[in-house]
Assembly symmetry: C2
Homo-oligomer: 294 residues x 2
Amino acid sequence: MSSTDTYGTESHKKRAMDWFSRLRDDLCMALELIETDVEGPNGSSDLEPGVFQRKSWQRPAEDGTDGGGGTMAVMRGRVLEKAGVNISEVKGEFSPEFRKNIPGAEADPRFWAAGISVVIHPRSPLVPAAHMNTRMIVTQKAWFGGGGDLTPVFPDDEETALFHRAYKDACDRFDGSYYPKYKKACDEYFYLPHRDEPRGVGGIFVDNLNSGDWESDFGFIQEIGRSFMGIYPQLVRRAMDLPWTAAQKQAQLIKRGRYVEFNLLHDRGTLFGIKTGGNTEAILMSMPPEVHWP
Amino acid sequence: MSSTDTYGTESHKKRAMDWFSRLRDDLCMALELIETDVEGPNGSSDLEPGVFQRKSWQRPAEDGTDGGGGTMAVMRGRVLEKAGVNISEVKGEFSPEFRKNIPGAEADPRFWAAGISVVIHPRSPLVPAAHMNTRMIVTQKAWFGGGGDLTPVFPDDEETALFHRAYKDACDRFDGSYYPKYKKACDEYFYLPHRDEPRGVGGIFVDNLNSGDWESDFGFIQEIGRSFMGIYPQLVRRAMDLPWTAAQKQAQLIKRGRYVEFNLLHDRGTLFGIKTGGNTEAILMSMPPEVHWP
């Protein structure tokens, strides 16, 4: 990885955080539009169109100084039963037990990290749940990570192909090797070994991205967000007006249990956040609103 | 700890397993009786009294030979929305990563383990959830573990006192030092650091019990099960006929989310079982039937 003199500078941090904020604004608007446009069973319900509510939190740093913080945006909608779009910018020092596992943190435990995290649990079992996040991290090294993936209750070949096509296009604009590599990483990551089941139908999963060219990597990270905003609302609109059965709803509530199991047993971001004293409310915003274990 | 020539013999294993089976039978009967005796809103519902359904599973050993197995008993009742009583007797070899953390397994990885595990999630938010388990483990050493604890949605001083009194009496019959020590261990164990909340109102938590006197320790372990059977059905009957509100039910569904978080993030038995290829269905029988993350 390159020196933080040229990759992960103060200017880079600011531009990344500005992007995460702007993407948050755009995504919230796109998702709120869905809420007003819906017809069918979602739209004809007694529920009002959802609107995002924002709530900020502060993170006390290890030495009591400013450790940054974040803003949660949560919508309880009629189409999107629970949608969370969190951004955060935090800084501090990794505790000794984590230093050896974080690139660049062994000699100097200070870190800066910023990102956006999106988790969407639709009300209809025919509309796929989705997750997207991108992040920039700076220790004595600097890198990006992120990705997007889809979790339908009833996988649909066309829907899956559309989602993957969006991410393949995003990847191919930067490097022809990216899509196959990051798709495979996604399949490997979002997998429940104790169930011998994938969490969903995949997408892409990127970690430790540092090509040496910050501008290019930042462009790719932005593209991950833009592609999500381009494709996911379309997939929602494709299915949101369809009626569903009680059996389909029950299948969704059970499928959500797998989502909970994955996030609490396996998800590195969730476990890292919980164990390092992160903001519990923001971290566990990913939990589905209603879940059954039959 | 004593030699397995005198503590954890083949005869001891058989007697322990026989006890776990008998306790399972007695507990299932006591819990089914509640289902037929109920009046009030639980009893006047359209639901039929619950009956335990049993299902056995086998565990393939590491070398393909017989690794033992277990029997799940699950009841979907009208008072006890989901009650699970599992017994198991398994044997095999600990994988290298676990050997160093298990007493007596470093030099010889073979183990035998048997136990009973009980998790009860009542339908009424006014009836406390409960957990009890006892186990005997034999490696090159041998020991017992177990305990019982209560998780009400709305803690009630009298109910809590009755539960603790039962376990204090059980402890005091064996050693005056047990109750304070095991109550403290329970409070420390069933705690969610990320929420800064206890899981429930405690009970007792015993691990690595080997006084050198197998008969006495086995007597105490039996007493943990007997005390649970003596007190928990009474606590259910105390509250099961009371009407509850939608707000109380919603509080229960949220409280159950904390239960899920504890079990998947922190519970050593759950994580150990999941990571060592245990029977997923039996391990995750502890999950509540319906959960909300608001």
